[in-house]
Amino acid sequence: MNQTLFQLCVVVGGAWLTAGAALLYFTHVRLERPAIGHFNGRDVLVVFVFLVTLPALYVILPEAVLTAFLILTFVSALTIGYRPLLSSTPRWLIIGALLGANIAVTRVGLGTVRGWQIYWTLTSIVVLLAVVAVANLYVQGGMQLRHVAWFALALAVYDPLFSIVIPLSIELADRFAGFALDPSIGMRLGALNANIGMGDLLVYSLFTIAAYKAYGPRTLPAVALAITVFGCVIPSIAPELLGSLHRGNIGFVVPAQTFFGPVAFLLYLWWRRRGVEAPMSEWLNRATPAETLPASSKTAELVQAVLP
């Protein structure tokens, strides 16, 4: 029961913090985007295939290769995501310090509870920042709520398949326990350990900002409720019912998207009845005063300037 309560606190806190930070970023920061291109249905498929194959790679890759792969992933996400906020030197220094400290603590500091707490704090900061960056990269790149809803629905099938039928997710969670740059947000309290995976956090963040972009702030209460109840509470109490998911004090492996995916999809269908979701341009027009035009709008001005 203690483990369940602790898990609940960590999961709800992690999900709210990440989704909230993603929303804050979305409303205040504009990412650069390429001259042509926007996120479409085929991109969702590519991301899905990538997500499906990645865990298998994580399990079979040697430790050094896996660490290098994780460093590359986080460095890419953080460099692109925080370019609008930090100039090159401080950005690289902060990223280097965060990742370096994480790896160092993993190697020397995991013998004590305090060590684990430092490890989880560092890991959680890196993961939170990365999820916020990637979610915004996708949504500001044109990913629509429709895409997120289908993505979540597909994960609703994938998650139980690879957690219960083929226990890949469990193997993965075991592999990452105490591993440098564990892609999850977590914490340790005494003998209790709890965490929530980066994939789940990404889906919640994507859903939050895509719904906000598409249908405005009125969607936020429903989004918060869906994430809390179907993304956190039900998955946290599910192990009490499904013992096979219980991994003792090191937490649970819960196919959270099984619960959240269908609800996210139904919410999308519900909102869609109110009208077509707003494209990014409409949101930018609503949200951005003319005098503080973002880089992409400056480009539009430049194009206008060269028009005959």
């Binding site: 044109g142 341009s281 930018l284």
Partner: protein, 480 residues
């Protein structure tokens, strides 16, 4: 997003490395650009670099020009009988050609292309469609293009047009150019197909019918010749039948006077863009910036300004002929190297270019044909001066009909009385004098043959049956 990235990489590879374009990928990029605009309302960052290439940096520009010239000359020397012989005679090593050495290759003239056209066809190429010059400056020249070129050129133009906001799915393009301009017509139709714009191909039909079509179809874009535009303005002014939805008029093929452009804006309600494109050097084109400079597209060809009477570079500020080499892989079926367009401009020093396209080399607008400029050596009078003077004097309506007779120290301008629109010939002479030309003006006698006057493209009129008076025998017998 991922697919678009791959397509952009493929296009960049072709531009930089010179491999053939994946035409399907370029066409798909047009769809990607439209989808981008639907989502964001504007293209993303670095769009200018995508459109114009990395040519603002002189070192990169030079490097790309050297490589593109080498590739183009090497291929032309290997595959076309004409250049195989010419490169050999010039003692030029195609593998060492660059900006510094290309001038050793003799110029290719319109006569060369007209008389030895078959020798320009590349071995192994598959000609698909021919396009002919209109012949307003002599017998027509025929240029063949392949399927690849016929698809690639409009795809690249559509991509640039969409990203610059020049054409899109909500546009209706009316085309009033000669039906013989097959390349331009094919181009317009393909661009509309790719961008989702509607297309009205009308040809040079009676101006009243064109104006009616502009209104009825809600045309937003018009493509025509300056002389035909002048006729449209005249009819619109007379009948009050001006369109209300036009947002841009593209004009090319003839001198466009500032007075005509201003009048078009006032009467037809849209700005006029002076475009430069030439059948023989397709797909190289040029854009006029707001300062009136002519900026050639450096992605598609190498542009030189050569002295009027020698094959040496014209000094900045001096008049010179525009000489163009379209690059492979953009031009493949019937390549031309150092083609003398016959158009005269003045090259501008980079330091004088401070327009929105600064960083790209520029020239003045076209001053006239080299034959006209040479003939004007003794008196300084060119057709552009006469057209601008007539448009200033009597208003730009109606394409001005005139002819210049060159004497040793002065010119005689013979004008159709209609071109003066009631103004005295002496007033025109005064304007010509003020522009520095030595000329006198005569009015064409009422009994004289008007075909002696300078031809304009609007003369390529395509009369429709609706224009034939009711009850005429032709109407009665020709329509089944």
């Amino acid at each position: 997003m991922f697919e678009t990235g791959v397509r952009q990489l493929s296009m960049a590879r072709s531009l930089i490395m010179g491999s053939r374009f994946n035409v399907r990928a370029v066409e798909a990029l047009v769809g990607d650009a439209l989808a981008t605009l639907r989502e964001f309302g504007a293209p993303g960052d670095d769009v200018q670099q995508l459109l114009d290439g990395p040519f603002a940096d002189p070192e990169i520009r030079r490097n790309l020009q050297d490589r593109s010239l080498r590739r183009t000359v090497r291929r032309a020397a290997a595959l076309t009988p004409y250049y195989r012989a010419l490169v050999r005679q010039a003692g030029l090593d195609p593998n060492r050609v660059g900006v510094d050495t290309i001038a050793r290759l003799p110029l290719t003239s319109k006569d060369d292309l007209r008389e030895r056209g078959r020798e320009f066809l590349a071995d192994g190429s598959t000609p698909f469609m021919t396009t002919r010059t209109t012949g307003t400056s002599g017998a027509p020249v025929q240029v063949w293009m392949s399927q690849y070129e016929a698809r690639l050129w409009p795809a690249l133009a559509a991509l640039a047009g969409v990203l610059r906001g020049e054409i899109g799915p909500t546009d209706v393009l009316q085309v009033n150019i000669s039906s013989r301009a097959t390349a331009a017509i094919h181009h317009d139709s393909a661009v509309c197909r790719l961008t989702g714009a509607r297309l009205c191909l009308l040809g040079l039909i009676p101006p009243g019918e064109s104006l009616k079509a502009l209104r009825d179809n809600g045309a937003t874009l018009l493509s025509t010749y300056p002389s035909y535009l002048a006729e449209l303005i005249e009819v619109a002014e007379r009948t009050g039948a001006a369109p209300t939805t036009l947002r841009r008029i593209d004009c090319g093929g003839e001198v466009l006077s500032p007075a005509l452009a201003e009048r078009a804006q006032a009467v037809l309600g849209a700005p006029v863009v002076d475009t430069f494109a030439m059948t023989e050097v397709l797909p190289v084109s040029a854009r006029r910036c707001r300062a009136g400079h002519l900026h050639h597209d450096l992605n598609s060809g190498y542009v030189e300004v050569v002295a009027l009477d020698a094959d040496t570079p014209a000094p900045a500020g001096e008049p010179g002929r525009v000489v163009i080499t379209p690059y492979y892989p953009l031009r493949e079926c019937m390549p031309v190297l150092r083609y003398d367009t016959g158009d005269v401009v003045r090259a501008l020093p980079d330091s004088e270019i401070d327009c929105e396209l600064a960083g790209m080399p520029a020239t003045t607008g076209i001053l006239g044909r080299s034959s006209e400029i040479r003939a004007a050596a003794g008196h300084g009078l060119t057709p552009r001066i006469v057209i601008e003077a007539l448009d200033t004097l009597s208003g730009p309506a109606r394409a001005p009909r005139f002819v210049i007779q060159h004497q040793d120290t002065e010119a005689i301008v013979i004008v159709d009385a209609g071109a003066l629109r009631g103004q005295a010939a002496s007033a025109l002479a005064e304007l010509l004098h003020r522009s520095g030309a030595r000329a006198r003006v005569e009015v064409l006698a009422a009994t004289a043959d008007p075909s002696a006057l300078r031809a304009v493209r609007a003369d390529l009129r395509e009369t429709t049956f609706t224009h034939i008076p009711a009850g005429s025998s032709l109407r009665a017998h020709s329509i089944p």
